[in-house]
């Protein structure tokens, strides 16, 4: 049987969903694989839900919004793009093919463009083959990685940074200082890498208590770095010392939040 990818589309009501309707009204034909979820604005697309969709076996995720400047909610699509950039960064860390997720702008009058994008994206996913997370036996390491990315997307730190990127870069703070885009990206990249690693550590420590040595081996990190993350995670109430074997403390994950 030929591979029929499962593609989930998150579309804003005003532009891209209307563009999808127009494709139909114009009888423009495109592959059947996409399943569209209507949201009021692409800004509603939470990074968590994109990553969760991959965890649950989607072969591709397509996010669509209004063209910049045409957003029904003025700037919702700009926030969609900022969030999407973080999703891309996280996915790059997991090892999942980054081509499986795409953000596109489609206006209400671009039925043909909508169909072209869906056709192209479907072909791209077909060429990639099924997601290693699809089906009955998802690839376990990759699954842990994408779960860690999802957890990182839930972290306060990343969400604050993404939510504030626009005001940090566009507006001056109370001291009259403005952050350059380069500086922000630097901060963001560090934060994404750190939160992703911490989430990985958390998920490992959740399975069984783990030592710094073991962590540094499994993550390919200098033990000093692993220790720094553990210290930060203890402060946040994510891990605790489970027991001490000989002179080696083993860390276990604590139940968090919801």
């Amino acid at each position: 049987m030929t591979f029929e990818p499962r593609i989930v589309g998150f579309l804003c009501n005003w532009c891209s969903y209307a563009g999808a309707d127009l494709a139909g009204v114009s009888r423009i034909q495109y592959p059947t694989n996409i399943r569209i979820i209507r949201l009021m604005c692409s800004g509603r697309v939470d990074p968590i839900i994109v990553l969760e969709t991959f965890v649950n076996g989607a072969d591709g995720v397509l996010v669509m919004g209004c063209h910049p400047g045409d957003c029904h909610y003025i700037v919702g699509n700009l926030y969609a793009e900022l969030k999407f950039r973080m999703v891309k960064k996280l996915i790059a860390l997991t090892g999942l093919e980054h081509e499986r997720v795409r953000l596109e702008w489609v206006s209400a009058s671009e039925g043909a463009r909508f169909a072209d994008i869906v056709r192209d994206f479907t072909n791209q996913i077909k060429a990639l083959g099924p997601s290693p997370l699809a089906g009955e036996t998802p690839e376990p390491n990759l699954l842990q990685n994408v779960l860690a990315a999802q957890m990182a997307a839930e972290s306060f730190r990343l969400r604050v940074l993404v939510g504030r990127e626009k005001s940090l870069v566009d507006e001056e703070n109370i001291y009259g200082e403005k952050l350059s885009q380069e500086k922000f990206d630097e901060v963001m990249n560090d934060a994404v890498a750190a939160e992703y690693l911490r989430s990985k550590i958390y998920l490992m420590a959740k399975k069984e208590p783990v030592s710094i040595k073991e962590l540094s081996k499994r993550l390919g990190l200098p033990s000093q770095k692993a220790l720094q993350h553990i210290v930060a995670m203890r402060r946040r109430g994510m891990v605790t010392v489970d027991r001490i074997e000989g002179t080696t403390p083993l860390y276990a994950a604590l139940e968090m939040g919801r």
Partner: protein, 568 residues
């Protein structure tokens, strides 16, 4: 009827839409499949669910099977959701307990040659709708009072027309004009096409009408400083050029700020030679009777308009303006040669094409130029200028020695448009003009309730079109003010006070300033201001914000259902 705590009892109505859906998707199969889904009590197929018979079927189903969630699988929610929601409401089911599966526009019409795959997709879309419907919550639309007064920004022909229309309906009108007098662009126009009456005559009449109307408060040399609030309850602060500020409340706002004329600095010798001018400058010469007899006049169309990038649009009025002024020159000085160099002459509609013909009959010469070889302007002898133009139809270079070169330049967004758009929280489009809620169906509304746009603030248009839109906005703005009480959007964001840490991220990113910190230091959404985009919910660092009708749980349920994950 309250359905919050009850288990979902879902009814699914699958529409054939004649052969539009039924000719591709196997509707009976989708109906049978729907019956197997958890929570679905009843499912049926309809020839047309939107017909009065189909609507009755929904109501019957609700009564007979005690349904509390309704799904219609049919065309698209963008056109038919209001109809089906109303049917639910009439049968006692909260209108927000309705969900639609788009199996026509996004399925049968897009996959006409793949009936089996289209049927599978339709089943998936129904499953996704069921997954969401199970989690839907009833919502109530809050009611608000409407202040029966209106702020009109801009005292040109559009703003003044809207002002006297609304004043005559008994509403209090504040009209704010940044210039010392009313009139706008029309004050600089000589004659009106096609009637050829003096622009000043009509203008004086309407300015007097507005100035003498007791219900209209005319605020000249004044700009809008701040607009806060929402439909029915806007708080406005305006500032006079002398620094004096005034505050008042209005129920609605009309944007009629007009447009500016593009100054083609550096193009075709403009700014370099004194006898190169814009149509607007020519209007002034004609109006003041100061145009000395020229031997030859050349007009160039589309100067700085219909560009590849930047001002890509057609300014709509320039062809008509050139025809009008060419004819006026011909009337004044019949021996003067008038050349119009055009790319495409867009003398649209019932009147302007007639003027095109009359201009040809009167001897105005029309030369088509092409964008690749635009006319060249060089200094000539005796104060004249020489225009070299490639005549596209003759395929040869033509040289015209002229006394006067008139450039037809587009209307461009009024100065301060961007700032005003930010004050009002309404969008501008990529051309920089104010951007309507829907290009065809809501052409003079903004997406923000209670704010409307008319005239050239929206896009270049002529006086008749501006006046039509002004009548339009007057009637649009009158609706909420006449009703006095309004139901507003129920799909809004809500903050869980227990989870909110008051970090303020949502406050910064809300495009409508709908979120403020309350006395407890946590975020609170003013639901009548919230437009329901959900950007705050998707960005909240504490995930303390629930976006009504599009909750995390609902969106997740749809996504998992799309992937064939079972739910129970």
């Amino acid at each position: 009827m309250e359905h919050a705590g009850e288990a979902a009892r879902i009814g699914v109505f699958v529409c054939h839409c004649g052969i539009n859906i039924g000719g591709v998707v196997n509707v009976p199969e989708v109906v049978e499949y729907a019956k197997t889904l958890p929570g679905v009590i009843y499912a049926e197929g309809n020839l047309y669910t939107c017909s009065s018979e189909g609507i009755s079927k929904i109501k019957e189903g609700i009564a007979k099977h005690n349904l509390n969630r309704i799904i219609v699988a049919s065309c698209t929610p963008r056109t038919h959701e209001p109809l089906f929601r109303a049917a639910c409401e009439e049968a006692g089911v909260n209108r927000y307990l309705f969900e639609m599966a788009n199996i026509r526009d996004q399925c049968s019409w897009a996959h006409m040659h793949e009936p089996e795959k289209a049927t599978e997709k339709a089943k998936d879309l129904v499953r996704m709708a069921v997954a969401k419907a199970r989690l839907l919550k009833p919502l109530e639309e809050p009611e608000i009072d409407v202040t029966p007064s209106v702020l009109i920004i801009g005292g040109g022909i559009s703003g003044m027309t809207a002002a006297f229309c609304l004043a005559n309906q008994g509403f209090k009108v504040y009209i704010v004009e940044k210039e010392p007098e009313l009139g706008g662009m029309l004050r600089h126009i000589h004659k009106l096409c096609p009637s050829m009456e003096d622009a000043s005559q009509g203008l004086d009449h309407i300015v007097n009408t507005v100035n003498s109307n007791k219900s209209i408060n005319v605020l000249t040399s004044t700009v809008v400083k701040q607009v806060k609030g929402f439909i029915g309850n806007f708080e406005v602060a305006v500032e006079r050029t002398n620094g004096e500020t005034t505050n008042f409340e209005v129920g609605t706002v009309i944007v009629a700020t007009g447009a500016a004329n593009f100054e083609p600095i550096g193009m075709y010798g403009y700014g370099e030679y004194s006898n190169v001018m814009t149509q607007l400058q020519l209007e002034k010469l004609l109006k003041d009777g100061q145009l000395k007899k020229p031997e030859k006049v050349v007009m160039i169309q589309c100067v700085g308009a219909r560009e590849e990038k930047g001002r890509t649009y057609c300014s709509r009025i320039c062809c008509m303006t050139a025809l009008k002024n060419a004819m006026l020159i011909k009337e004044l000085y019949p021996d003067t040669d008038v050349y119009v160099l055009f790319r495409d002459l867009q003398a649209y509609g019932t009147h302007y094409e007639d003027w095109h013909r009359r201009a040809q009959d009167a001897g105005v010469k029309f030369i088509k130029y092409v964008l690749e070889k635009p006319p060249q302007v060089v200094q000539g002898e005796n104060g004249k200028i020489t225009i070299n133009v490639y005549h596209a139809l003759l395929d040869e270079q033509v040289k015209i020695s002229s006394d006067l070169l008139v450039l037809s330049t587009p209307l461009i967004p009024q100065e301060g448009t961007k700032e005003l758009s930010q004050k009002l929280k309404v969008p501008v489009g990529s051309d920089g003009f104010f951007f309507e809620a829907h290009v065809k169906l809501r052409p003079i509304d903004f997406a923000t309730d209670g704010i409307y746009v008319c005239g050239t603030a929206h896009s270049p248009k002529d006086i008749a079109e501006s006046v039509s839109q002004a009548f339009g906005v007057a009637s649009r703005a009158a609706i909420p003010m006449a009703i006095k009480r309004l139901r507003v959007e129920a799909i809004t964001a809500m903050v869980d006070e227990g989870l909110c840490t008051g970090c303020g991220t949502c406050i910064r990113l809300c495009p409508y300033s709908a979120i403020q910190k309350d006395e407890k230091g946590v975020a609170r959404v003013t639901s009548v201001v919230c437009k329901g985009c959900g950007t705050c919910a998707a960005s909240c660092p504490e995930r303390a914000i629930t976006m009504g009708h599009f909750t995390d749980e609902q969106v997740r349920a749809q996504a998992l259902a799309a992937l064939g994950r079972v739910f129970a």
